[in-house]
């Protein structure tokens, strides 16, 4: 395959950055998108250029490190995958592919396609946990039966990989889906109910402080989420937030 790549190049956080056009040849449909970028970078370096920086690690869709806004979509045109699981067979010979970083005020660019998503960590510091110390003396795991439906729903919410596609896809750069996934996981489990009030208030407050926008229910986040985290979680978080606010 022959392709034209339009890639965002930015030296560092202070640099203004710009789109740069490149041509590449010899790409095979079986390559993953990131393998295509590997080949591209090798080629660029052999010509004396500096490779394009992009985040990636596990390359199997679970670590949440890879990002990329490809042809106007977080993680590219395929559904239910991260960029590392996207394959070149999704594109055609001769295509032009635009590659940008995840854009949001709360995700400043580090270099080229790499952004800083520490805001997500700080939201978790504010309440993304159950306050239980390691002791080896907690009650036996089977003392708390949990009905399978709740357990499965909590699991579905817990599969969020924290990649930030929801924020990048949202016209308001809202982090509601990300925060709602964690709030939901714990809200659905008896272990998590004990601190539910403080958790939702603290996490939402930190989310606002980080500069993420509001949710206007467009649902773009759910469509682009590589793990299919449901909008129902946002509804659940809103209910949790309302009742927590009333308890005040």
């Amino acid at each position: 395959m022959k392709l034209t790549l339009k890639i965002w190049r930015q030296k560092n956080a202070q640099d203004k950055g710009a789109m740069v056009d490149y041509k590449i040849d010899g790409i095979e449909p079986d390559m993953s998108f990131l393998e295509m970028l590997d080949v591209f970078n090798e080629d660029l370096m052999s010509k004396g250029g500096e490779p394009v920086a992009f985040d990636h690690d596990c390359r199997e869709g679970i670590c949440g490190m890879c990002s990329l806004y490809i042809n106007g979509e977080a993680h590219g045109p395929d559904r239910g995958v991260t960029t590392c699981q996207l394959h070149m067979r999704m594109f055609k010979d001769g295509d032009t592919i635009t590659i940008e970083p995840f854009r949001a005020a709360a995700f400043p660019v580090v270099k080229d396609l790499v952004v800083n998503r520490s805001a997500f960590d700080r939201i978790q510091h504010a309440g993304g946990f159950i306050s239980v110390n390691t002791s080896g003396n907690t009650i036996d795991a089977n003392t708390i039966p949990i009905n399978k439906k709740d357990a499965d729903e909590a699991f579905d919410a817990a599969t969020c990989i924290g990649c930030g596609a929801c924020v990048a896809s949202c016209k308001n750069s809202s982090a509601m889906l990300f925060v709602a996934a964690k709030v939901s996981q714990y809200a659905l489990l008896p272990q998590g109910r004990i601190e539910a009030t403080d958790r939702v208030l603290n996490m939402v407050s930190q989310m606002d402080a980080e500069g993420f926008g509001n949710c206007t229910n467009t649902g773009a986040c759910e469509v682009e989420c590589p793990k299919g985290i449901s909008l129902e979680n946002i509804a659940r978080m809103n209910r949790e937030y309302m009742s927590a606010s009333l308890k005040g």
């Binding site: 960590d121 390691t134 499965d152 909590a154």
Partner: protein, 666 residues
């Protein structure tokens, strides 16, 4: 220096209890005067950092990723073992201990493994209390499944994402402590050297991967939890960034490196598709519970399949060779990983491989789909002879159990595994070897600890499935927090360790010199060029089957490649900022040394055991032939300037509770 494993006296089942009863403790008021560095935030490092902070120590944690949640433990799929015996199928602490020692082909330290089995049950309680959503049955209780090398169902799981859920549990515990200021988290930092002051580990030199700044960090103890070294093969199931640098740097500073040749080649990975391949993807071992592994019985059929003239589904039952069921009737498709991997290689080498390169076997779910479908049809009162309905129902069940894995396979291979069998082949997955540690998980450098995959201690020559998560969390949550306190108790009046000492100065200079050398090298080839070459040598000559001639060649080739690397590697850009090529260069430099020691260790071990298979040492029917008389020891290597000069130290393995026999899965 003689190795002292510091194994407590007494019977194997009493050692840990007695040990805990008699160690020195640090009182809560003094813990806040002690600093601990933890390098790596996977299951071992994350759980250790959280627990140490809960106890009151000041923890400084480091990871090279942009968040601790990304550590590669996240990718573990299948499950975590624990001797809960919830299924009432005869499990016990002793059985888990026994299975692990046997599964490790009698090359693990009994005392450590027993302790691991003892605390396994606490891990499940702890994780459930933290809100980890482990799989449940309809009655609301926890579900289990069985895994390779065991005759009981003791594996807890969270669909195909157990590692993710357990890691996010540890991450949440860390978050609570980061929020309280008890853990100072350093994301996007890479440890590049250990600092030793007066014979004790007192800090590290780290590079801030965003600014490029070289930083000094001090502490009263340093914990290495940086994972394994599987990426020495270039292609492995490890993450792209997984590296051995922290472990190798402490080795160069005096920590012995144990059993580097014990590497696990996992039997069920997606086969290599071409030269561009950057990593390999695992298909969880849990699939072997329901999937049947086979190749064509006749070589003509294998050839026809490779040429695209026949398909898997064209072959009748009689034309298929379910070789694991044939060779190992008792364990069948659930033999341990090393046995399953070698059996696949044996069939493919004999010409029965089923993909273009001839390096793939089938993992088939057709039988499971029919079995589950009939069960469901019966439950729902549907006619069980209606094949279409049964297939539909059975597919649903399989989808519920393994949906995410099947989807992953489909996205990579572009073939539907529900209708045609998966193709799989072994790939490098886990390293049982690692830094040598004593019973306290301390390396041969006082104050420098090593936990999780980065140490060597619990899995012997082969790790059983669902045991890595168990060990990582056992070390971090339940073992290290005790042993490190015993070590730190004399240090309570020490005060903060200054970072302006000559020792810090010298270590920092070493790191800066290495980086400068790379930046000014002006070579012609990229880091990956050398890494791929190293990987090929390792896979061809130090991989699933090894022999003396190949190993000798590998040793020479790696040494030559290392020389070429330093002469000819090219690192573009600047070191004063984000530079991924520079990160790779410092990692591959260490792999180029480690790889040679790996081959040297494999060459010296004149026996076959677990994941180490020497072609010269096999039984008549091709099974690994151990030599307990001469090799029932841990090989711990001391660094002496070059891998070829490394000095061997032996820790003899004493088996009191388990009798050494040939592993038999027939």
């Amino acid at each position: 220096m003689a190795l002292d494993s510091k194994i407590p006296s007494g019977s194997v089942s009493d050692k840990w209890t007695n040990y805990k009863d008699h160690i020195n403790l640090v009182n809560p008021a003094n813990k806040r005067n002690l600093d601990i560095i933890v390098v790596g935030t996977g299951l071992a490092g994350g759980s250790a950092a959280a627990t140490l902070a809960e106890l009151g120590y000041n923890v400084k944690a480091f990871c090279f990723q942009d968040s601790p949640r990304r550590a590669h433990s996240i990718a573990a799929q299948g499950g975590i073992n624990a001797a809960k015996n919830y299924q009432g199928d005869g499990d016990s602490v002793f059985r888990l201990f026994y299975d692990t020692v046997k599964g490790g082909d009698y090359r693990a330290r009994e005392a450590n493994v027993h302790r691991l089995a003892e605390v396994s049950t606490n891990i499940i309680d702890q994780c459930v209390a933290q809100g980890v959503p482990l799989a449940r049955e309809y009655g609301g209780l926890l579900d289990n499944r069985s895994f390779g090398g065991a005759l009981v169902s003791r594996t807890f799981y969270a669909r195909g994402q157990t590692g993710q859920q357990l890691l996010l549990g540890a991450y949440s515990a860390m978050n609570r402590q980061i929020g309280r200021g008890k853990i100072k988290m350093h994301n996007r930092h890479e440890m590049l050297d250990l600092v030793i002051v007066n014979g004790k580990a007192r800090g590290i030199i780290a590079r801030n991967l965003i600014t490029g700044e070289i930083e000094r960090h001090s502490a009263h103890a340093v914990v290495i939890a940086s994972g394994g070294y599987g990426n020495v093969f270039f292609l492995s199931t490890n993450a792209m960034g997984s590296n051995a640098t922290a472990a190798w740097k402490i080795h160069k500073k005096g920590a012995f490196f144990a059993n580097p040749c014990y590497t696990q080649i996992h039997p069920t990975c997606i086969p290599v598709s071409g030269d561009h391949q950057s990593k390999l993807t695992l298909m969880s071992e849990s699939l072997r519970n329901d999937g049947r592994i086979w190749v064509p019985a006749k070589i003509e059929d294998a050839v026809a399949i490779r040429e695209g003239k026949k398909k898997a589904i064209d072959l009748s039952e009689a034309e298929r060779d379910y070789y694991l069921e044939r060779r190992y009737p008792a364990f069948g498709n659930l033999v341990p990983r090393d046995v399953a991997s070698r059996a696949a290689k044996e069939r493919c080498d004999a010409g029965f491989g089923v993909n273009k390169t001839g390096e793939a076997v089938y993992l088939d779910f057709a039988a499971a789909i029919q079995r589950y479908g009939k069960e469901q049809a019966f439950l729902k009162g549907i006619d069980a002879t209606d094949k279409q309905a049964v297939t539909k129902l059975g597919t649903e069940v399989v989808k519920n159990k393994y949906g995410n894995l099947f989807q992953m396979y489909y996205k990579i291979v572009d073939e539907d595994p529900y209708t045609s069998p998966m193709m799989i082949y072994p790939a490098v997955h886990y390293t049982m070897g690692g830094t040598w540690v004593d019973y306290n998980l301390m390396t041969t450098i006082p104050g420098c600890f090593s936990i999780g995959e980065s140490n060597f201690s619990d899995h012997g020559a082969n790790r059983l499935g669902a045991s890595a998560l168990m060990q990582g969390l056992a070390d971090g949550y339940f073992v290290l927090p005790y042993t490190i306190g015993d070590y730190l108790s004399p240090d309570i009046k020490m005060g903060t360790i200054p970072t302006d000492s000559p020792e810090f100065e010298a270590a920092e200079k070493g790191v800066k010199d290495q980086i400068e050398k790379f930046m000014n090298n002006n070579g012609t080839h990229s880091v990956d060029y050398f890494h791929r070459k190293l990987g090929k040598i390792m896979w061809d000559k130090v991989g699933m089957a090894r022999n003396a001639q190949g190993l000798n060649e590998a040793i020479n080739e790696i040494a030559a490649l290392r020389e070429e690397f330093y002469k000819d590697v090219k690192v573009p850009g600047t070191d004063k900022g984000f530079n991924q090529e520079l990160e790779k260069a410092t990692r591959v430099a260490d792999f180029l040394e480690l790889g040679e020691l790996f081959a040297k260790d494999a060459l010296h071990r004149n026996e076959s055991c677990g994941g180490h298979f020497r072609e010269e040492y096999q039984t008549e029917d091709g099974e690994a032939k151990r030599d307990d008389e001469n090799f029932a020891y841990v090989a711990a290597w001391e660094y002496k300037g070059k891998p070829s000069d490394a000095v061997l130290h032996k820790e003899d393995l004493v088996f009191d509770a388990v009798k050494l026999v040939q592993r038999n899965y027939k």
